[in-house]
Amino acid sequence: MDVKLRIHRFVEDKKWVQDYTLPVTVGMTVLEALTQIKEHQDPTLSFTCSCRSSICGACAVRVNGNAELACEILVENLMKRYDTDELTIEPLGNFRVIRDLIVDWDPKYARIKKIKPTVHPKAEFSAEEGCKQSPEEFNKFKKLAGCILCGSCVSECNKNSWNQDDFLDPFVFVKAAKITRDSRDKDPKEHLKAVVDAGLWRCFNCQECTAKCPKGLDPAGAIEKLKEATFKMGLDDNVGARHAKAIYDDISDSGTLDESKLNIKSEGFFAAGLRAPMALRLMRVGKMNPLDKHPVNKEIDTIRKIVKNAEAASKEEN
């Protein structure tokens, strides 16, 4: 059985798609296939790799539009998944491409720096005697410590595709969540403030990062946890937090959203005023009427129960 790999090439400003065909063998990963092409068909094909056991993060690429670690994903399984003998391989999305499948990590490190990426230990701890932490406290962040910086999470991140300047990469949020949940840190607020300033509330909540993480870390969940933490730390004086709170209040009170007030509550009276033209348009077509009494959902008791259970579940998790 043969596979045709359609590889997106990019060398010195020249871009093209090149097809390579090779036989599929047992246990052949995408990385193995790329290596065989480089060694037997085309030495100019370029990619990076190091550990080939899914822990160093060097070989992530996009296959048929989805980020994968090349060293762990089998060509055979991909052919089955997409029901095809043709796979398209591209560099990761939302990275600048240097050559072929090799991307530029440097700007990403600059973004990690923004969140002050280390634990700043409490005063009672020292370099000589280390720190103390209960197993339960360790459990709160251990999963997040498994990030390998492969970049899969940001490849299909829709917020990053839209605009990278006012947001971070999902793996940066994972790092921030790890540190703020680490009981050794003396001031999680310091990291949280940096995260809020860097665009925490701009996440589209599309879950692409969580779907793509090869280590199952749930970056989208980490972002939600960071948002929760901002409330606890009193860092909730911003549009995103106020918007979330307004929705929460509406749902708990009436089970329905009061669109006419939501905007005012989130952005403040004056900023919301700038949206008057849109409000007028909505009113004209009958989508919003500020004079109507805000309706209450008939199932309000059930809704309140759901809210309560969700709160309890979230408490348990934390």
């Binding site: 060398v11 010195e12 047992v26 246990g27 990963t29 193995e32 480089k38 037997h40 030495p43 100019t44 370029s46 990619f47 990076t48 790799c49 190091s50 550990c51 080939r52 056991s53 822990i55 160093c56 993060g57 060097a58 600048r96 240097i98 050559r99 072929d100 530029d104 990590w105 440097d106 700007p107 490190y109 600059a110 990690i112 002050k116 990426p117 280390t118 230990p121 020292s126 370099a127 000589e128 280390g130 720190c131 932490q133 406290e137 360790f138 962040f141 251990k142 498994g146 990030c147 390998i148 910086l149 917020k159 595709s161 839209w162 605009n163 300047d165 680490d182 589209f204 599309c206 692409e208």
Partner: protein, 618 residues
């Protein structure tokens, strides 16, 4: 179409539309893999570290504690892709938190015994005394240790140790260490010179002992850069890739730093000491954990015989790594293996273990076997063979109190160095503690040197060396197809030589043949075909450089193995099966003649303090 998909499609569409609107700003990047001042050539580093694994980054942090010093880490990939990330077990250090009866003496003795008495005992004492402190320090840096009830990190017992003393993060101890150090480096503003392949350490002066700096190729631009430095720390890792797919090491473990060091007169100490792990997947060398055998998996040859009964009647599969590795190699050699050539192996049979327990305790092993060999180990056996796991040998560290080599200004640390703490065989979880202890030491040592010395190198010579490599790049990459063998062809031939003639077993006639074959390969290497002439991220050229290094490393291994007429630790001579303390309680030092390129062996006595050599029994 399900709702999830339509939501995804909707958001994708909206985001794509946004990209079109914001197209102008989409590709504005300020990133840079090399600091501007390096590009412009207006910085001389006080301490320049080559390699961004555990040792390199630990050294950088130590050196950078001196706020006035200019410190940088150069790496051929980007940081966090190193061999250190692959370490699983933990890092040893006597702290007594999990076992109050543990002592430094015990750690010292376990290490020396494990190393088959080829360790320098004073160095091991220095190492064991400091290993505990480094574990506490990592805690303070934010290492995510698994904890015990009293809030301290938990320590577990590794093979060959008499007490639990390895602290860890799950089964990813190295990964957590590298990321903790990297975060510290980022926050402390350490300069990274990323994606630069080191080519040479540039020296000048009458005796060629004056350090100018380091010549490297910026992979992104193809530019050759000369980075002036007062001191250099070589921390480039091991050389397992001389056995190519028969190693558990990453692709980057090609001994670059060792060769650069040999070329400026630092001896390669104990190169023949290579550790083979018995159970790598025969398909690709990836390690199947030691826990497989611990849980009861049986080794069988092609006739279905449980051959370990013959080699270790009592312990069988539970015998030590070296014994099992040698047994497997013997079975294959005598025609009782399965499969051909470098992929030949024997069966590891898990079907004797209840499927339930396999799922519970050997999940990772089951997963790797399924993925890479297509085998469900609850139903059928998987093919395994020995795989090179660790390089005990390395550049000689002349003084373990400072990390310096015998060349002034050049320091060594980590797997590329030989202290010697591991002797002829490294114990589990001693490698991560070694990189912490000696990374720290070398960082302090190089910083002290830089403070006491002015830069006395020759920038002219640095520029000349750059030009030399530039010319070489142009010559090598412009060779026409058909000018000679390709880089992978020569590499495969080298691996065949090394695996069969200087692998698990060695003997004189085969080692002599290996020398001849390597010489022939070096000739072929001189006019090999690289096949890529681009200046942008030319990985074909990088692999050409790495192959050149591996060939030199191979020579040194063979030379060392030939001269050591005994069997000790990782080095097994068929013609000299016993350890010979009378003649070989010595370190091999392989020097490369800087003019002729010939290799020459010298010897240096092992340092014995308290522990006289005894037979190694477990």
């Amino acid at each position: 179409m399900s709702k999830e998909i339509s939501r995804r499609t909707f958001i994708k569409g909206a985001a794509a539309a946004g990209v079109v609107v914001a197209a102008g700003s989409y590709f504005t990047w300020n990133g840079n893999n090399i600091p501007e001042k390096v590009k412009k050539g207006d910085i001389t580093y006080d301490v320049l570290i080559i390699g961004s694994g555990g040792a390199g980054m630990r050294a950088a942090l130590a050196a950078a504690e001196n706020k006035n010093l200019k410190v940088a880490v150069m790496t051929k990939l980007v940081p966090t892709r190193s061999a250190s990330t692959m370490a699983q077990g933990g890092m040893n250090g006597v702290t007594g938190v999990s076992d109050p009866t543990d002592t430094v003496e015990s750690h010292v003795f376990d290490t020396i015994k494990g190393g088959d008495y080829l360790c320098d005992q004073d160095a091991v004492e220095y190492f064991a005394e400091r290993a505990g402190a480094n574990i506490y320090e990592m805690d303070y840096m934010g290492y995510p240790y698994n904890r015990q009830k009293d809030g301290c990190f938990h320590q577990r017992k590794m093979g060959g140790h008499s007490h639990p003393r390895a602290s860890y993060f799950e089964d990813r101890a190295g990964h957590a260490m590298v990321h903790t150090l990297f975060e510290q480096c980022l926050e402390n503003g350490i300069d990274f010179i990323s994606e630069c392949q080191m080519l040479e350490i540039s020296m000048s002066g009458e005796k060629n002992d004056q350090l100018n700096g380091v010549i490297a190729m910026d992979m992104r631009s193809g530019n050759l850069i000369g980075v002036p430095a007062k001191s250099v720390i070589i921390a480039t890792g091991g050389y397992g890739r001389v056995y190519w797919i028969r190693t558990s090491n990453p692709y980057s473990s090609t001994g670059d730093g060792i060769v650069a060091g040999m070329n400026v007169g630092i001896p390669f100490k104990d190169p023949e000491m290579v550790q083979f792990h018995p159970t790598g997947l025969s398909a690709n060398g990836v390690l199947l954990s030691e826990s497989s055998r611990a849980e009861g998996a049986q080794l069988k040859n092609k006739n279905g015989e449980r051959f370990m009964e013959k080699y270790a009647p009592e312990k069988k599969e539970l015998a030590t790594r070296d014994i099992v590795a040698r047994a497997i190699a013997t079975e294959i050699e005598q025609g009782r293996g399965v499969g051909e050539g470098i992929h030949a192996g024997v069966y590891m049979d898990f079907t004797v273990i209840p499927a339930e327990r396999i799922r519970e305790r050997l999940g990772q092993v089951a997963d790797l076997s399924k993925r890479f060999a297509g085998v469900d180990i609850t139903k059928e056996p998987v093919l395994i063979a020995p795989t090179c796991h660790y390089s005990m040998g390395g550049l000689e560290m002349a003084d373990f109190h400072t990390g310096e080599s015998r060349v002034p200004g050049i320091y060594v640390a980590g797997e590329c160095s030989c202290v010697s703490v591991h002797g002829a065989n490294r114990l589990g979880a001693n490698s991560l503690s070694e990189v912490l202890v000696f990374g720290h030491t070398a960082g302090d040592g190089a910083a002290a040197y830089a403070k006491e010395h002015n830069y006395a190198g020759s920038q002219d010579k640095l520029a000349q060396d750059c030009q030399k490599w530039k010319d070489r790049f142009e010559e090598v990459t412009s060779r026409p197809e058909g000018c000679g063998k390709t880089v992978p062809e020569i590499r495969d031939a080298m691996v065949n030589t090394m695996w069969y003639k200087a692998g698990v077993y060695r003997q004189e006639d085969q080692l002599n043949q290996a020398t001849q074959e390597l010489k022939a390969l070096e000739e072929e290497y001189k006019h090999c075909y690289v096949g890529d002439s681009s200046h942008v991220y030319n990985t074909a050229f990088e692999q050409y450089i790495e192959l050149g290094n591996l060939l030199q490393i191979s020579h040194a291994i063979v030379q060392g193995a030939l001269a050591r007429k005994e069997s000790r630790g990782g080095h097994s001579r068929r013609d000299f099966p016993k350890r010979d303390d009378k003649n070989f309680l010595k370190h091999t030092l392989i020097f490369k003649d800087q003019k002729t390129g010939e290799y020459r062996a010298e010897y240096k006595d092992v340092v014995i303090t308290k522990y006289q050599p005894k037979e190694r029994k477990y």
